[in-house]
Symmetry: C2
Subunit: 266 residues, 2 copies
Amino acid sequence: MFTVIGERINTTLKKVQAAAADRDADYIRDDVKKQTEAGATYIDVNAGARIGHEEEDMRWLLEVVQGATDLPLCLDSPDPAILEMAYGLVNKKPLVNSISLEKDRFEPMIDYLKGKDCRIVALCMDDSGMPKASDDIISRAQTLVSELENIGFGRDDIFIDPLIQPISVDTGNGRMVMSAVHTIMTEIEGVHTTGGLSNISYGLPQRRIINRSFLAMMVAHGFDSAIMNPLDREAMQVVLTSDMLAGNDDYCMRFITASRSGAIGA
Amino acid sequence: MFTVIGERINTTLKKVQAAAADRDADYIRDDVKKQTEAGATYIDVNAGARIGHEEEDMRWLLEVVQGATDLPLCLDSPDPAILEMAYGLVNKKPLVNSISLEKDRFEPMIDYLKGKDCRIVALCMDDSGMPKASDDIISRAQTLVSELENIGFGRDDIFIDPLIQPISVDTGNGRMVMSAVHTIMTEIEGVHTTGGLSNISYGLPQRRIINRSFLAMMVAHGFDSAIMNPLDREAMQVVLTSDMLAGNDDYCMRFITASRSGAIGA
């Protein structure tokens, strides 16, 4: 079943930033309830935008968000100290966003992760920069999985982010990432793939239309999670529909149920 | 570039049947012009529904359709005698729909095709029935391609139809056909794949939504043609978008042009 990481509680978004600054718990609660009803699997919480306030904002957000939903959280920060604090405050096994192969990030994150009961988003980024070919993505994924397995992580707890790059920059960027996801999902059995899809359409018109088709295309290659807006009704329809078409919806029951409830349809 | 076979001139459709019976050329011309403007690559012409009238209906339709468009035609009949007559009347190299591995159909069609300058839709059907696994589809495709190559056809003139079966009957049916198309497009280099997509959603609600996601998913695996309704604006958007995302639109120019013309967008 597809894992939807709801991306809306992020202080880089103006309204969320204002709500955090004003301690407007109603705004946050309302948004989290909507994401939950719309079918999110995790609620991502990112408090990084108000410089100097990340720790207090994260602490406050975690309390408010967990008061509004029973869903597990995705703890989103580059700072292991923030993640350590947040880990101590969550009620359910969290997803942690993220580790990468960049030296500055890799070592502290591996130290942080040792012995923790969490899942992890692992970015296919290293000190040489963004991947330039499918093989870069695949080899970085293999390294990340093997390093995480070494410290006790199971594959079901690893979400590889292949790093989606704009099709407007190179028309091969879609093919590159689809091919890599196909290989990762086939050859690193049991691991998950995730990521933010909207980068694919950077620089082009009609971005939402592009993002939706690309989501279905990625699911066709085994992509089984996305960091996305659960309130984007059309995108959530594509999740349910493509997950069914990929063979992940027994008797098509989730699709049929969503269709009866009105979640699928114009 | 994706090949759109416009399916609307088919006497199994009530209005087309009435137009054929009444020799209402305006109706046919108008429809064909709309399909042409919407971006069809071929106009399929099927005159099979009025029993006993196929030859005269086909003859009349070919004249009317070719008076309304410069596009090449897809000659759609199970009867080699009708196809022979039709072949003599077309102005441009046609696509012929279709050959299969069923004995009754294969032998007469091979005889018909020998020495003809046409392209051909080749169905992965044999006397044992519909394919039951990806390997069935792949091996039938290989046989069809090799038989057609033996009588002089190039791969660029062969459109393999893997035969899409409903996801409601078996939730593996989507995966089966995507995997087969992936292998065919990778291993039988230069060949095309096509087919009618709507079978995938048979028996389910919200069929158009399902068909659209499935189209993008198939394109993600190399599917490069469909027998479809070019006047389905959303489906044509998915064609343009997914074809770009698959890397087949240099500089994204077709997509950007369509976007500027208003063909992409709500």
